[in-house]
């Protein structure tokens, strides 16, 4: 199920403003790729361009290629809606649908797309997704209760369950733990470790320890100055990036000399 993504010469714009400049990288399947870098360097923008969520913002556009399975996601015949059905996303702030119960939130991907599915199949899907997100035991007795009634960490795991319920090949995570306490963070990091056996995971994080803990490969983004586009400095195995990076700026960032 997990897929490899090949990004080549990707330029990302907001209107006329070039936000991220010529990114070329390969995202390995069944592995966690972490993206680190200072604020405003374009990590999140790059992440959102991988499942065509970037273009939801008016005026936003992309040049270059993102190839998954030999198919360019930005080909003019590709429907962004179906891209997003294959590449799921978890956001920085937990955003369960406020009108829906826990059950309905997990089933949202099926229900909102009006896919036909029998009640028992849907029950199984909800249970397996919640189990996948390590939330089942905590919520199995109150599936009918509103999703907003959960704690922040539980809500974020609910959003992960919702994302994996559409059975994506790739899971993008945009600082999924930045609004959570250390215990919830630990729960989600453990979850990421389990999920990588089935999914390709890309995670944006500000927390370098987190990148070191959960990822197999790490990409470092930087920007030359305010108002200048962000760019990928280097991407390599996490152990290499954290012990022996090839670029001076990576070493400076990781050792805390700037950023």
């Amino acid at each position: 199920m997990a897929k490899l993504i090949d990004v080549s010469d990707l330029n990302i714009y907001y209107g006329d403003f070039l936000a991220v400049e010529s990114v070329t990288m390969t995202i390995e399947p069944r592995a966690v790729t972490a993206l680190i870098g200072p604020s405003g360097c374009g990590k999140s923008t790059f992440l959102r361009s991988l499942n065509r969520m970037h273009e939801v913002i008016p005026g936003a556009r992309v040049e270059g290629k993102v190839v998954m399975d030999g198919q360019d996601l930005y080909d003019k015949d590709v429907d962004p809606v179906s891209v997003r059905q294959h590449i799921g996303m978890v956001f920085q702030r937990p955003n369960p649908f406020p009108t829906m119960s826990i059950y309905d939130n997990v089933a949202a991907g099926v229900r909102l797309n009006a896919k036909r599915m029998s009640k028992s199949d849907l029950d199984d899907l909800v249970e397996s997704s919640l189990r996948g997100a390590n939330l089942w035991t905590e919520v199995k007795d109150r599936l009918g209760k509103p999703g907003l009634g959960l704690s922040g960490g539980q809500q974020q795991r609910l959003c992960i369950a919702r994302a994996i319920a559409i059975r994506p090949s790739v899971l993008l995570m945009d600082e999924p733990c930045s609004a959570l306490d250390p215990i919830s963070t630990l729960a989600i990091e453990d979850l990421i470790g389990e999920l990588k056996s089935e999914y390709t995971i890309v995670i944006v994080t500000h927390n370098m320890q987190q990148a070191a803990r959960v990822s197999d490969r790490t990409g470092f983004f930087n920007l030359a100055g305010v108002g200048r586009p962000g760019h990928l400095v280097e991407i390599d195995d996490t152990s290499t990036i954290f012990s022996n990076p090839s670029q001076k700026s990576t070493e400076d960032y990781i050792s805390g000399r700037f950023g």
Binding site: N51, M53, V56, P58, V81, S82, V83, R84, Q85, H86, G88, M89, F91, R93, N95, P96, F97, P98, T99, A108, G109, R111, L112, N113, A114, R142, K145, P146, L148, G149, C159, R162, A163, I166
Partner: protein, 361 residues
């Protein structure tokens, strides 16, 4: 346990040294005492013969302001005195705002109850010139005309608001529409009535008066209100939810119908109900578009129709013989209209509570 030795400081010294944040306060009942004293002053100042309610209330208010201000300034200092005076001013302003409301309800209930009987709700005015008679035809007319107006303006207004927020956001066309909608909410209601009347004069012929014309005139008034309130509600839906739906591979139109509208449905329904309540009491546009009849007419496409506001107007201006009977019917029609609008407001509250997103464990 330790015991203190040496002379203990006097209570004044404690207040001075150890509690610099402590200040003298007036007792809690002071405002009420001041108000009572002000009332006594007002009663003493005004001569028993030339005493009027308005004069007494006004003098009481002023005396209370002065009294509480001086008391507080002397005992509590200037900052608290200002606080007391402003509190009293705000309360007086609230009282002033309540006067017309209470007065209207009081007068209408007082005058309207006389004919608030079963005859009023079961009879029309067909063949009635003097006493008796009712407003059944006008009640039906108001319900039919308002319902059709709502059926026209709710879909139009709702879809226009969806366009403005979800599709046109920031575009020049959307800005122009928003501006025009704002202008439309301010047009005098008679203009809407004359617009529809003129339209039908051109299309059908002079002197045309139909129920549907009244509905159209009300729809012209209602659409801007529905657009505006729906627009505000849609803007309140956090963008996070739209993105969450897009990220699940949900198409835009499904995101709008199943997530955005579903999340804001309570506010939208409330806005629509309030818009209906607002147009249900319109008189001027109905006066020129659908006129008045004495009998019940269920067909909005055929002939004149009676409505409660127009009924009240005609019962007051052309009361028949004896005149008191007509005037009494006018008061009762006004009372029924107020009850109707109040019921719609209660429905709006109920809807907003029923559909509101639930947060609970």
């Amino acid at each position: 346990m330790t015991t203190t030795t040496g002379p203990s400081p006097s209570p004044e010294a404690v207040a001075e040294i150890e509690q610099p944040m402590r200040q003298a306060r007036l007792p809690r009942w002071t405002p009420w005492a001041s108000l009572a004293a002000a009332l006594v002053v007002a009663l003493l100042v005004t001569a028993p013969g030339g005493r009027s309610l308005g004069g007494v209330v006004a003098i009481t208010a002023i005396a209370h302001l002065v009294l509480i201000g001086v008391l507080s300034a002397v005992r509590e200092g200037s900052r608290r005195a200002k606080d007391r005076i402003v509190t009293a001013l705000v309360t007086i302003a609230f009282g002033l705002a309540m006067i017309p409301l209470v007065s209207v309800v009081w007068t209408v209930v007082g005058n309207g109850l006389a004919r608030f009987d079963t005859t009023f709700f079961t009879w029309s005015m067909r063949g009635v010139v003097g006493e008796g008679g009712g407003a059944l035809h006008a009640i039906w007319g108001t319900i039919i005309v308002t319902l059709i107006a709502a059926l026209i303006s709710v879909p139009v207004g709702l879809l226009a608001a969806v366009y403005l927020v979800e599709y046109g956001a920031g575009s020049r066309l959307a800005k122009a529409i928003t501006f025009l909608v704002d202008v439309m909410t301010g047009i005098p209601s008679i203009v809407a009535g004359l617009f529809v009347a003129a339209l039908f004069v051109i299309v059908v012929g002079p002197g045309t008066k139909l129920g549907i014309m009244g509905s159209l005139a009300l729809a012209v008034l209602m659409i801007p209100t529905v657009v505006r309130s729906t627009e505000e509600m849609l803007k309140l839906v956090p963008n996070d939810l739209r993105e969450a739906a897009y990220a699940l591979g949900v198409p835009k139109w499904r995101t709008i119908t199943k997530v955005v509208l579903r999340t804001s449905v309570s506010g939208i329904a409330t806005g629509i109900t309030l818009a209906i309540a607002r147009v249900a009491g319109e008189t001027a546009p109905l006066l020129v578009t659908l006129g008045i009849t004495t009998g019940t007419n269920f067909n909005p496409f055929d002939g004149r129709m009676a409505t409660l506001p127009v009924y009240a107007y005609y019962q007051y201006t052309q009361p028949g013989v004896p005149a008191e009977a007509g005037v009494e019917r006018a008061w009762t029609a006004a009372l029924v209209l107020i009850i109707l609008v109040m019921a719609l407001n209660l429905v709006a509250r109920l809807i907003s509570r029923l559909f509101a997103p639930k947060v609970g464990r």
